[in-house]
Subunit: 423 residues, 2 copies
């Protein structure tokens, strides 16, 4: 029965029942972590071949370059060629870096702050604002916060942000310099930007001539269904729209091969790539080319990546199904919460009754279930409705995911009943 | 006979003789590169075991952490413990990063510019000057130039910079925020900072409370003689002097294992390490821990590094000896040039007659011998005497080093004779 239709007596009964379940949960002494989107050991095992690569006597790339030595800021051609079709970026406009696309985003931001973009002076002397579709990725927001960039939330729907909000914000304010986008299976709510929304974003007029979309295609190939939709050609659309330099594309193999030892990518217009490589050359003599070679030998081609991602799906899909099943069973009848059913990516976004997310996360923590902090998916960690909780089911074993989500459901019910009873 | 004592006829003869030699050199059509301090293939071969490491089924560190996954910003304990005694930095105060210490220097500078240090506001809002002992490392100077930091040259002697100059510059001017130091076998002139100079640098009073020494110990273990002097305990000296946060230590295994796929290090006071890690956490979820594990398995301990460096010495020493032999034979009698006889590191610094270095490098280039640009060892690429040329003999095969240096000597003689004849 719907929570909103329960009588006071029924609410008290639910409160008591949930408290009993919660006390039992406390007694179990769980120690589970659903905070971060980390791949599980079983997923990492898929790529264990990398542990022995490149192998004895193998250290030259296709062009004959000794990958052990210095140099080659753009990264190995062959690893760029593998990922180019998957990301919809020509290999010549792709830069392969070290293990973290977050670092590339950081550096692109730092270069813009301290050196300016190709079409504007350095940002550090001006007020800078970034549009942040919410809910979104907490590490994007942490980057903005660290460097004093004001974050302006905009509502994110299933196919992209509210375009009216976005257009109104960029039209008159030249301090709106950027926007975060996770175009495919967005963290945390699984949104997938449509081609229409994408076209609108690259076509719209912006008061800032140096407006940049930080297009973090972190989950480009991380399908949870058989519908393996290709990446949108965002650079092509931007060029066609007359704004070829508007988009920075970021990606990595972190959730494809090894999370801590993958290869990251930066893609953009030729002018932006030259800009990025020019500044990068002051920071490094080159990326770890042996790790590029290792990945090229292991993945072979785009189809190799697709095959590997299907093996990931085999491991991930049951965990996502399990979360949906438990949430439906435990919370469905009360119609007090809603959650996403993502077609890819690493997260399920759970909305509990307004004003209770913090309480739910605190209750879960006390019961040994670590969830990402409530509000983490919002700029400055502030969820205006205190209702959103990010669930990351990838890392724990299936039985642990089940225990954690069941416990979490208990916390949701308890917090909701408490609230309705005015406690 | 000394160049300065030659009669005009003798000079003309030398000019003619050198021109003939140079013409013969042109005909040889050489294609040699002595521009950068890159290890040779033979040196890289020493560490080929790394190509197969960590090996099948090996991915956990001593603490049981899965190195394939995210996390661990400070880097693997075991790789920090190997390098700690070599760098004279406690392992707890050492951070292991990715493949380039230049990147760590860049980031330490960027964090200081955009976030401020532990004891002062951000640098980007103030004029900032760095003292640059000259000749020095061109990539240090490129970092300063990129970020608008004014470089102030100070004279470097065999045991460190001219302390009177340094003290005078730091005493009254709070915009002097930093100083570059390559303490061991400095690039390019092989200077080795003495403990006395080091003590003076960490003891001196500075107008800037947030003065930082960027202590780039790039060649800490790169001995070319059997005198394997230990690293100076610069952090201990700084702490004893009451300036515990003055020094950032940088190092890497680039010229120990693989130049492009090694491990880099940052070391400093506990407060500075916390400062660095705090800002680093916004940039990355962690370094490539598998590469740390690979290095820990291969190097084993500090003695393993020392053994490896002796094998490097076996390869490098003959090349350095060859350069000295050829320069002495070809240029010695004329007493027109001087060059260093380094006890370690990667470079020989050659001083030719004032005003001729650019001409020598241009002549060499025309003859297919690529040398680092004249002036590269000076801020803004400006050698006030236009006399310094950096020789990097490590990369080419011995016969090529000989051909290049012999050709270079021809260019030196030709340029000197031209100059004396007023051409």
């Amino acid at each position: 029965m719907r929570l909103s239709e329960l009588s006071r007596d029924e609410l008290v009964a639910l409160r008591t029942e949930s408290q009993t379940a919660y006390d039992a949960l406390l007694e179990r002494g769980l120690k589970l972590d659903l905070t971060r989107g980390k791949p599980s050991a079983a997923q990492l095992d898929l790529s264990n071949e990398l542990l022995e690569l490149p192998g004895a006597g193998r250290y030259t790339d296709a062009a004959g370059v000794d990958c052990r030595n210095y140099g080659g800021t753009q990264g190995l051609t062959e690893v760029r060629e593998i990922f180019a079709p998957l990301l919809g970026v020509p290999a010549a406009q792709l830069v392969a870096g070290d293990n973290a696309s977050l670092s590339i985003m950081h550096d692109a931001l730092v270069f813009s702050l301290l050196k300016g973009t190709t079409d504007g002076p350095r940002w550090v002397d001006q007020p800078v604002k970034f549009l942040c579709p919410v809910p979104g990725y907490d590490r994007h927001f942490a980057l903005c916060e660290a460097y004093g960039i004001e974050m302006v939330p905009v509502d994110l729907g299933p196919h992209g942000p509210d375009l009216d909000q976005v257009r109104a914000l960029v039209a008159d304010d030249p301090s709106v310099k950027g926007m975060w986008v996770v175009p495919t299976y967005a963290n945390p709510d699984g949104a997938v930007y449509s081609e229409e929304v994408t076209r609108a974003l690259v076509e719209m007029e912006t008061a800032a001539p140096d407006f940049r979309i930080f297009w973090d295609n972190a989950y480009a190939v991380h399908h949870l269904t058989e519908d393996e939709r290709p990446a949108i050609d965002v650079l092509g659309l931007a060029e066609a729209a007359g704004h070829p330099d508007r988009v920075f594309v970021f990606a990595s193999s972190s959730k494809i091969t090894f999370a801590g030892a993958g290869v990251s990518f930066f893609g953009s217009s030729p002018a932006n790539v030259a800009w990025y490589l020019g500044h990068l050359a002051v920071r490094t003599i080159g990326p770890d080319k042996l790790n590029h070679l290792r990945h090229a030998l292991y993945l072979r081609d785009a189809e190799g990546v697709r095959r590997l991602m299907r093996a990931h799906r085999e491991i991930l899909r049951p965990k996502f199904d399990q979360v949906a099943e438990i949430l439906t069973r435990r919370l469905g009848e009360h119609e007090l919460a809603s959650w996403t059913d993502p077609e890819g990516g690493y997260f399920i976004s759970l909305d509990v009754p307004d004003g209770t997310a913090s309480r739910v996360v605190a209750l879960a923590k006390q019961a040994g279930i670590a969830m990402t902090a409530a509000g983490a998916a919002f700029p400055y960690g502030r969820d205006p409705r205190d209702r959103n909780i990010r669930i990351a089911p990838s890392m724990p074993a299936p039985a642990d995911v089940a225990a954690a989500i069941d416990g979490l459901a208990t916390c949701v019910l308890l917090a909701a009943a408490e609230q309705r009873l005015g406690e």
